[in-house]
Amino acid sequence: MRRTLRIYRRSLGAHLRAVLEYEADFWVLIVAGLLFQVLNLIFLSAVFAHVPALNGWSYPEAVLLAGTYGFVNGLGPLFFEGTWRLAGKINHGELDYPLTRPAPVLVQVVSGGIGLHGVGDLIGGGAMIGWGLAHSDIDWSPARIGGGLLLLASSATILLSLIVVGNAASFWVGGNHPVFAMTLIRTGDMAKYPLSIYGVAVRATFTVLVPYAFISFFPASWLLGKESAWIGLLTPLVALYCVYLARLVFRLGLRRYDSAGH
């Protein structure tokens, strides 16, 4: 495990150094990420200019929710960007070499790139979380702080696992682009608004089928003490399940891999 982490870290580090060679790109990407979060904020502000609350969620609470989703989403490009290249790699038979090296293929794939726009997401999302927390009515205690951090880590784990699951679908779907993963992850954008505004079907889907609700809605509900806040405490379990699922799907996919040419 430690060895695997070391390989992951070194690989990511090498790609970070490579990306930093292009200084202009670096700033453009960060600003782009930041801009995306600002747009989210403008949209929320526009909605709340007309209504005082969304199904019991105040403006700061909604900002906290969107900020959490934005923050967690920034981790994908920063730490799992290589995953998005999986479809192309499968299509071009580029998993051949990774399969002949003594390191987990998933680790080699995941650490095969870095997207700096994630930094903008982290800064923007982080600022929104900070502002949201400061303006919400939260009963702070050491347990709440620790719990909050645990839930944040779990929610990040869930999203990263879903990115892997979505992209691993390329082992079955084929094609050069991660169409399935794009659809899966973009659908998750709905989770940046309070889930309670949606109908039962959508809520059930996002809770059970694809657990987007555990990325921001349930953890935030627990932190803010909303109704059925206890569900938020299931987030770590859901995270474990997602990790298991991601590894399983990737492993099964890898068995199907049949390279390119012959």
Partner: protein
């Protein structure tokens, strides 16, 4: 037990069977039909430690697929493989430490990274100690001229440079057995020579080599054993010299005649052989089967008709054999 042991190795790919055009594609969505394609069909292969084996066959014969099965990249449909005691596709990590792989058509270097960074990543994956890594880099620099390439980003390398860097990457951890899939493809003569020289040195160091190639110079320079496959089946396996004995039956004699002589006259005197006119009326080429005729018989026959000035004889070339295999002329 041999270093590499494959028994009844088989790989069947399933290919979608579509009618042409959009109509065909749409139809395939509803009514899925597939056709099996046997890329590798029951191959038995044993390679002893220290051997260097050329794996030869026409395009699409199943060479690369065999390599991918032996390296654990593909899971066999049937049959067994053992490499240094490990089953490649199940003991992937164990096997990975024993083998080095190079696919000449593709690089294993990280596209956006300098060569140095790629090699450092491999060092981490193979758990090489700093001392060992340094010593290997020095050795590889000696034979491949690596030093100039280290700071260059992979995508900026020329093909020859890339191949040298890729060889270094494949051999960094000093593998027991090295699989090379077309290691000289697209290289110019001087780089090709350098690569072959490197492969010969590798062989002298006791490394086991298996290489697929269309370049027969590679084979004669580097390998002592040749395995020929076609349509996924093995059709020859043995020493290079034996292959020539068995399949290279055709010899060619070029004669310079004392006076212009019609080809027909010679052909009359020499039935069962092929006599072809040369560039000038005094030149002819006689092609004969060395199992039915000796060179002496041919010369005697020609001398009956006309005086001979000069002559020279083409020895059976490995090219001829392989060309015949490619054209499907050899008996299976």
């Amino acid at each position: 037990m041999s270093l590499v042991e494959a028994r009844g190795l088989t790989k069947i790919f399933r290919r979608p069977e579509k009618d042409p055009g959009l109509r065909g594609s749409l139809k395939h969505l509803v009514q899925r039909r597939f056709k099996d394609f046997r890329a590798v069909d029951g191959i038995d292969l044993s390679i002893e430690a220290g051997e260097s084996v050329a794996y030869v066959g026409p395009n699409g014969a199943g060479k690369s697929t065999t390599i991918k099965l032996l390296t654990g990249i593909l899971v066999p449909t049937a049959g067994t493989v053992r490499v240094a005691g490990a089953e490649p596709h199940t003991d992937r990590m164990v096997n990975a430490r024993n083998i080095g792989v190079l696919f000449g058509q593709r690089t294993q270097l990280w596209w956006d990274l300098p060569v140095r960074e790629s090699l450092a990543l491999l060092r981490d994956m193979y758990d090489l100690s700093p001392a060992f890594y340094k010593q290997r880099l020095e050795r590889l620099d000696e034979v491949l001229g690596l030093a100039d390439l280290l700071p260059v980003v992979a995508r900026k390398l020329s093909l020859g440079q890339r191949m040298r860097a890729d060889l270094a990457a494949a051999l960094l951890h000093q593998p027991k057995i090295v699989y090379l899939d077309e290691p000289t493809i697209g290289l110019d003569i001087s780089v090709k020579d350098r690569v072959r020289q490197f492969l010969r040195e590798l062989r002298q160091d006791g490394t086991t080599l298996m290489l697929t190639t269309h370049d027969l110079g590679d084979i004669e320079d580097v390998c002592e054993r040749i395995v020929i496959i076609d349509e996924g089946r093995k059709i020859f396996d043995g020493p290079l010299a034996q292959m020539k004995d068995r399949f290279a039956r055709v010899r060619r004699m070029h004669l310079q005649l004392a006076e212009p002589t019609p080809v027909e006259k010679l052909a009359e005197r020499l039935p069962d052989v092929e006599v072809i006119a040369g560039d000038s009326p005094t030149e002819v080429t006689v092609t004969f089967d060395r199992f039915t005729h000796t060179a002496g018989q041919i010369i005697a026959g020609v001398l009956d008709v006309v005086e001979v000035g000069e002559l020279h004889l083409d020895e059976p070339a490995i090219e001829d054999v392989v060309r015949k295999v490619y054209a499907g002329e050899l008996l299976r």
